[in-house]
Symmetry: C2
């Protein structure tokens, strides 16, 4: 495996190639075969089934809908009609955008309106079924039952390639819908600020648009080449035919490419995209050097996936688990996405065009509120070059952004999605783990956020030590998450040598205490007056949900455990280990009912534990801190078994750009980063009898857990052949490689991890 | 008195005239006769004896020294030689600057070097004695024993007039030393960045210089006219004669004006100054329209003083007390000083030239760390137009200043002197008292200070809730004073309608608690770790005075009572009334010894109460809050009697631009603003059997305290003829006018002010 790591390392060193190693390393194992990209396309998983390379710019995928929560990815498994195939998709999000440049292959009469799921009549929507649908990493195909057209899709880093095989003897055309995009949930259209389409020599179609959807005002340009010429083209503006020009401008532009009966064999359509300009899109189209060679391109994509799936080898007899695991590893490497052109230009967070320094890349689609928890930690183990590149890139994006440190950057635009500034966590973790990230530069950026930014909420946070619920919505969750970000920033300051600021932020990170009500033992909304808001029901979203929620996609049950960094201080609030353990038990055993206004994200419930949404993700590991590690083991095993299935609706909730999958991967390996910044992992209950993790510099971490299939409990542990009484291990230790052996049992061993000295460290600068 | 108030009001309305009503109102009483400006020129009072009009730009006064702490004003009573007469002086400060344009009248050989106090030989220093020295408001005269020259000085708002009567038959000259200024305490010269002198037509001398002394880089220009022509002039650069030009430039420029034996009668020298330019200085010179008429000008100055001294009429048989009182009222109106030209131009805090809007004025020399306590509150009673103009001007200066809200602005430069941002207090008080000050504009300026400014100290204050003593010097005092400024800013925010910020700051203003050690019952230096620094001695300046002090010109004894706004919260920290009262008793009864490194400011000690410096000024009034008001009465009377005397060394400490005097005036009247922002006054022990305070709109406040000369205790009080059981009264009540009668006793009445409901409000938005 050495060569694979070296490959990645050199890819990282050469910058742009980070996201797209050109060679399929001979040593890699064909794990792509174990991936089923359909997992999570149903339920509330929100993933797309189409073609992308690891961290690629293009996600060429079918669109079944563009206007509702469960179709955030443009595709929902249960939908019965198809719109067409577009080039950009979000993986597992709960808000949406993108779906750029819809290509609709069809026969006969040209239909230019998209219709709706409910009323597809007369539109270009066509029936679809999963009978003749195939998806694997980097490849997607579908035969459309109404027309008989076979559509196949693949991608390279910056280009998408379509292959359409039309039934012989039919009048073939493609409709290109440049007004297509993710609509608002109320059905109102994507707002196109301006767009254009131009027909150039040799039937090269190019176009530009600026879209104001989730990302307000992002730019996207395309270039399209055809393997066979169209007999003619018809341009439409606002669904009316327009002629007499080669360039058209407007807000709703479409073009029909008429091939009549003249196609000889499959029609290949290649598309390059760029957020910079059309010239960039054209270069991106040609960058892979593979022209219209579909097999070469899909083969290269598969090889790249094999490379990216090979860092972890698991041994299991359970095909469902194996599929779930490698599909998770696949989903964990779809985002962040490459967001720079072949020539090194990119659209920065200031919406200006920048030129990358050699050896660097720029990325987009950082779902940080989710991914700081497990995805970025996972990458620090299996792909340190990308982990470092993302962390450093987040600093650069924050420097460029008019709003400073990034929250949820999408295609050069800050969406301000969710709460907190968890980019700080990703950066602090990378710094703490010794990745090449510029701590001083990071701290120069975040220092202003930590101390200087002047908003009512932040002022209240600093002034009261909490955000009053009569000031701002989601005040409890914000207080708790700002506290964690303070912890992250304190590490950043420490690394930058600003010890004083580090100490201040470390202290301020204990602000979580100010929303904990020791009487009810819940984190509760608190008024400016200092009093707890009434009425209080731990299942409710807040004290006055008509006005706003006090919790972010959660309620007091989950928020009460929203502490990742000062567990011993936290446990003290409850009155000690026993009370804390009892409260955790109560969480998992509470009735699972939620009020009617609960958000759809709150799924995957075990009691009031909500695995389908991120605020719960670390909670089952918290038993380790009160000495009841066996309860962590039991709960983790339960979650692994009940919340993930190898089926389209097999995800308990939104995949969230890799977070739900990364939880599974790490938990299945047997450990999880409750506090990513702290750099330690708490043991859970390893799912496989053996797993091997290939680390940098040729090291291998081997995890054994013989008999674990029927024995969920840890009897004892050895590390490097010696007894290991702790319920945790550090990142530095893991990264040495070696043997971590779990002796499993079908009965709990309450003594394991019970001693104070065996419990995980917390609130420590290590 | 109506017309006087109306005059002031209309003067305020007409702007520039604020500082210089042209007419001597016929109704005013000649209280100037009771003023002795020599009080405070000795001891550590630091005042100057020369001529100024109320709040005037010019302070034309003799200089005996320019290089040591007790000569901050340029004059020290015990000095035996004189340098000459210069035009600008600070009144009672502990840091110094100014002394612009020294004029040295002499006979015989020209001596151009200043010499020193210790070695005057061969220099232009000349012997001086107090035998033929006279000082009264707006007038100063001295006969120099060596030469027999009589020097007389007077001033209008922007010009100074000298009258020199040379002995007949002597070869007379004036030396003009344009390199003179306040030196560093080590004796090194004032740093002149650049200066120039030019001789214009009709022997008008003009010049400019930029000085980097306390105020780093202030500009000053002069214009000088003579009533009789000089026979010749000799220019010197670096003490070497230079010729052949009319303009000279350099860092040390002087000029000798030779009159030979040709003078006919007294020589008059008139000088205008400007921080803007020479044209401004020339206009300022001529503005008063009085030419060389010395009697008219000194008469006008006396009349202006009579006007400004007339708001308070006291009845007393004690001539010493009467002198002390009216001299205090005189000293209380020397600063802030006018800092704008006759044409409305002025040098702003950005060092740029600005033009005033009609009806406005600009001022300098705001010794805010001192004067927020009693001087500005006094002015809200006796001179609301100036109180409002100062508060509004502080907003404008903060808007102009590159460092934002002002701290100690001097001549268009922020000196950053002392700690905190007490301009906030002056502004908040003015707003609270209903003066015409723009609250929204103020809050827009201070909001950034409250929440946005990003310095290690402020970050620590907001993060830890205190400033750690291992981070910054004077951390205890800073924490306490920042807390009080938070209180002031919370009122500002409230008035501007930003209720949330008001609530945050109100809460944050309780940060004083974080430096209170309940075990020792002292405010103590605290480490970043949260622990109290060791060793601890309540008399010491700090735990490691080699590094820095932890207290600002104070020690733990005074700092422990540095709370002006949340007294009931503060008392709670001690454990209640009895403990707090005992601690106050302990303060006044402790041995008065101080460590060797204590600053010279800590004078006027009663136990460890330090009346000579400002942090103690409110403390004797605190007994009112624990129900032991009779102890306030006793201590106030003691301080009034022992800390002020009608003698050159009669001030207990630095006069500090009016603060020491304002304390005396208010306390002698019988009340004091423990919390200026809160707008209430705590009773003390009225000094005079009767005092009448003339208020706006013709109202009069009459305070009676029959027999008070021998009866320091309050037996009971009536207000408007009705019993008044409270130990306090509000500003709004006082400003209605009426009768406040104290029934005095020679025995304490512990019942007075004892009931909770009779104690002063604190920590209230009223």
């Amino acid at each position: 495996m050495l060569s694979r790591r070296s490959l990645l390392a050199s890819a990282a060193a050469s910058g742009l190639a980070v996201a797209m190693p050109r060679l399929a390393a001979a040593q890699t194992v064909g794990y792509s075969q174990f991936v089923n990209p359909m997992i999570g396309t149903g339920g509330h998983g929100h993933v797309y089934p189409g073609a992308s390379v690891p961290f690629g710019m293009i996600q060429l995928s079918p669109d079944t809908d563009n206007a509702r929560w469960d179709a955030c990815s443009g595709y929902y498994y249960d939908d019965k009609t198809l719109l067409g195939f577009s080039h950009t998709h979000l993986s597992g999000t709960g808000a949406s955008d993108m779906l750029d440049l819809l290509v609709v292959p069809a026969i006969g009469e040209v239909r230019i309106k998209p219709g709706t799921l409910a009323d597809p009549e007369g539109s270009y929507r066509t029936a679809m079924s999963h009978d003749q649908e195939h998806s694997r990493p980097g490849y997607y195909s579908l035969v459309l039952p109404e027309s008989g057209i076979r559509a196949e899709l693949t991608a390279s880093a910056r280009a998408g390639l379509h292959r359409y095989t039309f039934p012989e003897g039919k009048d073939a055309h493609l409709l290109i819908d440049w007004a297509h995009g993710f609509r608002n949930y109320d059905g109102s259209a994507t707002k196109i600020i301006a767009s254009s389409i131009e027909l150039r020599e040799n039937q090269v179609l190019v176009g530009s648009r600026q879209v104001r959807q989730w990302a307000q005002g992002r730019y996207i340009h395309f270039a399209m080449k055809l393997s066979q010429p169209a007999a003619s083209m018809t341009f439409y503006k606002d669904d009316t035919e327009i002629t007499g020009a080669t360039t058209y401008q407007g807000q709703s532009l479409k073009v029909a490419l008429h091939f009549g009966h003249g196609l000889k064999g499959p029609l290949l359509v290649k598309v390059g995209l760029s957020a910079v300009d059309i010239a960039g899109a054209l270069k991106n189209l040609d960058e892979d050097g593979l022209g219209f060679d579909f097999e070469a391109m899909s083969g290269q994509a598969a090889a790249q996936w094999d490379t990216h799936l090979s860092p972890i080898e698991i041994t299991t007899e359970d095909i469902g688990q194996r599929t779930a695991f490698y599909t998770a590893l696949y989903h964990a490497q779809l985002a962040p996405t490459l967001f720079c052109d072949a020539d090194g230009r990119y659209r920065g967070m200031d919406k200006q065009v920048h030129q990358l320094e050699p050896g660097k890349a720029n990325f987009s689609t950082y779902s940080l509120w989710d991914t700081y928890r497990a995805l970025h930690p996972l990458l620090t183990i299996i792909d340190p070059p990308h982990a470092a590149a993302f962390a450093q890139n987040l600093i650069e994006q924050g420097e460029q952004s008019p709003s400073g440190p990034v929250i949820w950057p999408l295609q050069g635009v800050e969406t301000f999605c969710m709460i907190g500034w968890h980019s700080a966590v990703v950066i602090a973790e990378a710094i703490h783990k010794g990745l090449p990230v510029d701590a001083k530069r990071a701290w120069a950026l975040y220092r202003q956020l930590a101390f200087g930014r002047n908003t009512p909420g932040l002022n209240a946070y600093r002034g009261f030590g909490y955000i009053p619920c009569d000031l701002e919505g989601e005040s409890v969750s914000k207080t708790l998450e700002y506290a964690y970000d303070d912890w992250a920033m304190s590490h950043m300051a420490q690394a930058a040598g600003d010890y004083m600021s580090a100490a201040i932020l470390r202290e301020r990170s204990r602000n979580y205490r100010n929303v904990f009500d020791s009487k009810t033992q819940f984190c509760r909304p608190r008024l400016m007056s200092g009093q707890w808001a009434l009425p209080f029901d731990p299942r409710s979203m807040g004290h006055d949900s008509k006005r706003w929620w006090d919790y972010t996609e959660s309620n007091a049950w989950q928020a009460t455990f929203l502490n990742q960094h000062d567990l011993y201080g936290h446990i003290g609030l409850f009155g000690g280990d026993a009370a804390f353990e009892a409260k955790l038990d109560a969480l998992f055993n509470a009735p699972s009912d939620l009020p009617p206004d609960a958000p759809p994200d709150m799924t995957g419930m075990i009691g009031q534990y909500v695995h389908g949404n991120e605020p719960s993700h670390h909670i089952a590991y918290l038993y380790a801190y009160c000495g009841a590690h066996y309860k962590t083991q039991a709960r983790i095993r339960e979650i692994l078994k009940t919340q993930y299935r190898a089926a389209p609706d097999g995800m308990a909730g939104n995949e969230d750009c890799g977070q739900m999958s990364a939880w599974y991967i790490l938990s299945a390996l047997g450990f999880y980063p409750v506090d990513p910044v702290g750099g330690v992992y708490v043991f859970g209950s390893p799912l496989f009898p053996q797993a091997r993790v290939h680390l940098p510099a040729g090291r291998t971490l081997t995890i054994r857990a013989e008999g674990t299939e029927t024995k969920p409990y840890i009897e004892s542990v050895t590390w490097q052949g010696r007894p290991w009484s702790r319920s945790w291990i550090s990142h530095a230790e893991l990264m040495q490689g070696g043997e971590l052996v779990f002796v499993m049992s079908d009965k709990p061993n309450p003594a394991f991890g019970f001693d104070i000295t065996d419990r995980p460290p917390s609130f420590q600068f290590s």
